[in-house]
């Protein structure tokens, strides 16, 4: 009844160190099917763009693409994305090192404060700055604001990775005569590379899809241009052509990451758990470091929060529509929770394949989930509108369709987190559990899940945060009569009613805050226990 063991497997060759157990093999076939289904779902928007482009034909496409406007958008988008990726990676890594590896005072507080900007949506951050001074419009202001909004996407994974590093490697480097700086560059950074690259890639991908913040700062990129095309002229073909250029940009990012990433496995197979690394004494640098951190937090948190408070207190148009606030908040909360569960569940098979069965197929599956996040929310939304009207009419204008859009858009966030978590649960522990008489399900419940739970929680929290503050897709896909905090905030801001917008913005921040706090403390718990 049992077939013989295959040696290659569907996901390419595995070395003798890799798991080739029969129970796992049977399970991995199922996981492969699930992963493929998830990847196909995630590819719907991309296929939509490609099919559209093909339907238009090369002649028309060429005419739409070769325009000075496109060139201008390309320059704008490129310099903003590259600038923000570099700045965020530097800022996020430096902050992570200070919090995890130095004797900076009040580290736990800093950790929470550095993750907190994730609770402030980029367009609320923009609102904060724009309502303060119009000088932030343009490239420099846009770069500053998006970096302040997105650097936690690098900070969090790098901090988590720093925490898990085996200090023995650094000690070895010291013993070999390397100073602290060279040790950091030659020993620590290579180990942090997956986190830094993963985080930086996430920032870039995110920025390619950013709409609200840049629209408010009047800095046109591909994404805002697509929105304008749809809204003002309903020029579908032109917008779709810009979207295909955007897809190309995302592809460039993906290929870059693919080439840089090595082939090592990151599972820690050593003794039970890592010894915490000793912290470096900052000494005379303590004050400058504290000041720098304070500045960073003031700019990324102080300005938007201060602005919101200002408009809440002083704003002439401020009114407290309690009923509307409560109903929009409930809607946002429900959608956020639903999407968090759905997306994390969908991320599981993809991440599992990527960690446990590295190979061409699993890499393709993992990559394909990234595409949708590089498409602006509006394209995901319109793809789903078109596909649902054509093929599954009943789900059109339902929350299910909106949740699907969220899942497609935020899968990369969940996959990155779940992947990192799975790398912490070496397959050997599952072998041991099997040998102690526990089947696959019991092993999942008693060994794998407890080990990866912090990562799963982090992934779900990331998705929840993104959904509560999601604007573009919600504007298009929310069933008629459904208003979320974000859409309400946006329509008030668009009519310059800053005071009326402020309560919705503040509530968005308040709802996101607990998830952000959880996110910043969850992984830490395992160290302090």
């Amino acid at each position: 009844m049992r077939r013989r063991s295959r040696t290659g497997g569907p996901t390419g060759p595995r070395g003798p160190a890799g798991p080739t157990g029969r129970p796992r093999e049977a399970a991995s076939a199922l996981v492969l099917v699930a992963g493929t289904a998830v990847a196909l779902l995630a590819l719907i928007p991309l296929l939509f763009v490609v099919v559209y482009t093909v339907v238009i034909g090369p002649h028309e496409a060429w005419a739409l693409l070769v325009r000075p406007r496109i060139g201008e958008l390309l320059v704008n988008t490129t310099r903003l994305v590259l600038g923000c990726m570099v700045l965020s990676t530097a800022l996020g890594t430096a902050a992570a090192w200070l919090v995890e590896r130095s004797d900076l005072p009040a580290r736990r507080l800093w950790h929470v404060l550095l993750a907190a900007p994730l609770a402030v949506p980029a367009f609320v951050n923009s609102f904060g700055w724009v309502s303060l001074t119009p000088k932030v419009e343009g490239y420099a202001g846009a770069l500053l604001i998006v970096t302040l909004s997105y650097f936690p996407l690098v900070y969090l994974p790098v901090a988590a990775m720093l925490r898990g590093l085996d200090p023995a490697l650094e000690e070895t480097a010291y013993a070999l005569g390397l100073g602290p700086w060279r040790t950091f560059v030659r020993v620590v950074v290579p180990q942090l590379r997956p986190a830094m690259l993963g985080g930086g890639l996430l920032v870039g991908i995110h920025l390619l899809a950013e709409f609200g913040a840049l629209q408010m700062l009047r800095f046109p990129t591909f994404t805002t241009a697509i929105y304008d095309q749809y809204r003002s002229s309903f020029n579908g073909p032109a917008a779709n052509m810009i979207a295909s250029v955007l897809v190309l940009c995302c592809l460039v990012l993906l290929m870059g990451e693919l080439r840089l990433r090595g082939h090592q496995r990151y599972a820690r197979l050593g003794r039970g758990s890592a010894r915490p690394a000793p912290r470096r004494t900052l000494g005379r640098l303590t004050l400058p470091a504290t000041l720098a951190m304070t500045g960073l937090v003031l700019l990324s948190l102080g300005v938007p929060i201060g602005s919101l408070v200002h408009w809440l207190v002083v704003g002439s148009s401020t009114a407290f529509p309690i009923g509307s606030l409560a109903s929009t908040a409930a809607t946002s909360l429900g959608l956020g929770l639903g999407a968090a569960v759905l997306t994390t569940a969908l991320a599981m098979p993809v991440a599992w394949l990527a960690v446990r069965h590295r190979g061409t197929v699993s890499t393709i599956l993992e990559r394909s989930t990234y595409f949708a996040n590089a498409l602006p929310g509006i394209v995901v939304a319109l793809a789903l509108v078109t596909v649902s009207i054509r093929f599954v009419r009943p789900v059109y204008q339902t929350s299910l369709l909106l949740l699907t859009a969220y899942a497609i858009m935020f899968l990369p966030r969940a996959v990155v987190s779940v992947r990192t978590a799975l790398a912490q649960a070496p397959p050997l522990l599952e072998d041991v559990s099997h040998s102690l008489g526990h089947g696959p399900l019991a092993t999942l419940r008693r060994v794998t899940l407890p080990l990866i739970a912090p990562g799963l929680g982090a992934g779900a929290a990331l998705v929840f945060l993104a959904v509560v503050t999601e604007l573009t897709a919600t504007l298009l896909l929310a069933p008629i009569g459904t208003a979320t905090l974000a859409t309400q905030f946006w329509s008030n801001t668009a009519s310059a009613a800053y005071g009326a917008a402020a309560p919705y913005g503040a509530l968005m921040v308040l709802i996101s805050a607990p998830a952000t706090y959880l996110l910043s403390t969850e992984a830490r718990r395992s160290v302090t226990s």
Binding site: T20, R22, R271, V447
Partner: protein
Amino acid sequence: MTSLSIRGVAKAYGATPVLRGVDLEVPAKSITAILGPSGCGKTTLLRIIAGFTDPDGGVVKFGDQTVYGAGRSVPPQRRRVGYVPQEGALFPHLDVAANISFGLSRSRSRRAERIHELLSLVGLDAAMGARFPHELSGGQQQRVALARALAPSPAVVLLDEPFSSLDAGLREGTGRAVVHALRATGATALLVTHDQSEALSLSDQVAVMRQGRLAQTDRPLALYRSPVDVGVATFVGGAILLPATVRGLTARCALGDVAVAEGSAEGLGQVLVRPEQLEILPEGATGGVPARVAEVSFYGHDAAVHLDLLPHGPRVVARIVGMDAPPPATLVSVMARGRATVYATSPA
């Protein structure tokens, strides 16, 4: 308890054969060591017995129950094997007590008692139960890993290089504690190792593995005394190999006339003498051959004396009681005691 029987087990990863037909019998309640260099396939064999990996062919039986054979395979969770991996692999999110009771059913009464019993079996204090794996030393982790494996009273216990990550002092103590615990529970155990003294000292039977095959399976003493070939001879201990001419019960070689077993191949051949068979006598003593001491490695309890046989070599090593070692450049007389093993001359 249960014996373990393996017949014709073969396994390849892609085009690379790892196991080429392994046959092994492990009697019930005994400890067998699989000894081999790294990459010889011994860990793969262990994983096959545990059920983590399926072989390409062959039969694995626990007692009279076939756990793998004719394409049928019992999943690892129903094989009742105790598995002690390299470096322990304790569950990092569970404390010692929870690690040990991991394989016990939840309803099992006397749970705390059983944990206590197992802790003392592996020589650990009951207070250890509340510790987490990262708070234990390597040797303690290894003992907990064994206690965890023994908790459900497994039919067969598999140990994969369990002591290789421990330092030498700890290794011996941990090794003995592990063997005591295994004997006390009457478990049938298979120990994989690349360390010949570990294999010889801890087990009832040693199987030497080479390139996916078992070269020889024997009791430790028999294996050391009569290795089947030169390769096994040099792998399980120090070896002096000399060309010799065999006639009857005597072999003539550079060490003079050495006794050999009855039925040894006549004519030209090679003899194996263990370094501790050499005796160093004063210069000119009868029955010995002249030699000069070239080098001495002094270990305390014993010493390795490197000797140049006169007049033209070769150099041989004698292992003698440390305090008896002569200083370098001393002229001495060397004699081989006991019997040597004869091999037909290999082309090499």
